[in-house]
């Protein structure tokens, strides 16, 4: 009797796993990239990916049929990140929103043309620096930028995934990109000054 129960459980698991694998594995690359951008390093991203798949598999049989599977996986990952990883990160370095806004307006007032600024940032920026600058944004803003500009989610999908209204998605994207621009501008300015002083 006992071995039969075990066999039945194993069969159920194998069936469930094969269904889960079919649905979940194709989303591994976008999930890994989201983890990479949100955590800021490969080691933590790998751990977060493992945790996400384990949790998702654990609750897979409870998932309502018809649920957007990709968005659900992202939600599992984000919750796992918020529960354990974000506490360990340096959220102390959050930029002050008012200061950022003030600085942005200053740049805007002193620039007649944004293309020169863009050129300077573009030419002085490595991919690693861009990645670090993105990682320095507060989680709320970073998430929507990653989802929109790297993962190509549309507004409805993002709103569903982060569980916020579409208007908040738009607003966070706008502010987040402004914050990132300000950060990149400051970094480029520092770089240019240090080159000139050499």
């Amino acid at each position: 009797m006992f071995p039969q129960v075990i066999l039945a459980v194993l069969n159920e698991q194998v069936k469930l796993y094969s269904e889960f694998e079919q649905n979940a594995i194709p989303h591994m690359d976008p999930l890994y990239n989201f983890a990479l951008r949100i955590c800021g390093n490969k080691g933590r991203a790998s751990d977060l990916l493992k945790e996400t798949y384990l949790k998702a598999f654990r609750f897979y049989d409870k998932l309502e049929r018809g649920t957007d599977f990709k968005a659900w996986l992202f939600r599992v990952m984000r919750n796992a990140y918020l529960n354990s990883y974000s506490k360990k990160s340096t959220e102390l370095n959050k930029p002050d929103n008012k200061k950022v806004e003030k600085f942005y307006e200053k740049i805007k007032a002193s620039s007649t043309d944004s293309s020169q600024l863009e050129k300077e940032i573009h030419n002085n920026l490595t991919d690693k620096e861009l990645s670090e600058a993105l990682s320095s944004l507060p989680e709320d803003f970073r998430t929507v930028i990653i989802l929109c500009d790297i993962e190509s989610f549309n507004y409805e999908e993002m709103a569903d995934f982060v569980d916020i209204p579409v208007g908040v998605v738009r607003s966070r994207l706008h502010k987040g990109r402004k914050m990132l621009f300000t950060k990149l501008y400051k970094d480029a300015e520092k770089k240019v000054t240090s080159i000139k002083n050499k």
Binding site: F20, L49, S114, C148, D149, G167, H174, F181
Partner: protein, 88 residues
């Protein structure tokens, strides 16, 4: 249209989320006529394109992929998964 502020409107336009033709024309007109709005628009567009262009989706390293699959495969952990499911 009036419900959205200009900032949100610009972002919506940059992300190709505007489907209404009259709204589209109105945004284009605003960008063309107002230098402040044009600056904001260029900044949004620049950040979006630099991220899309530089931070491309990378494939999951093979080692990580294998580890994840190993972790969830039932042959190794079916009892753990079964009992944790029963407990949850």
């Amino acid at each position: 249209m009036a419900e959205l502020n200009t900032n949100e409107l610009i972002t919506k336009y940059v992300d190709c989320e505007v489907t209404d033709q009259s709204e589209l024309n109105e945004i284009k007109n605003l960008i063309e006529k107002d230098p402040d709005i044009k600056f904001d628009y260029n900044v949004q567009l620049f950040i979006k394109s630099i991220i899309t262009e530089r931070l491309k989706i990378q494939p999951t390293p093979e080692q990580v992929r294998r580890k994840v699959i190993r972790k969830i495969k039932p042959s190794k952990n079916f009892l753990t998964a079964f009992f944790s499911r029963k407990l949850s």
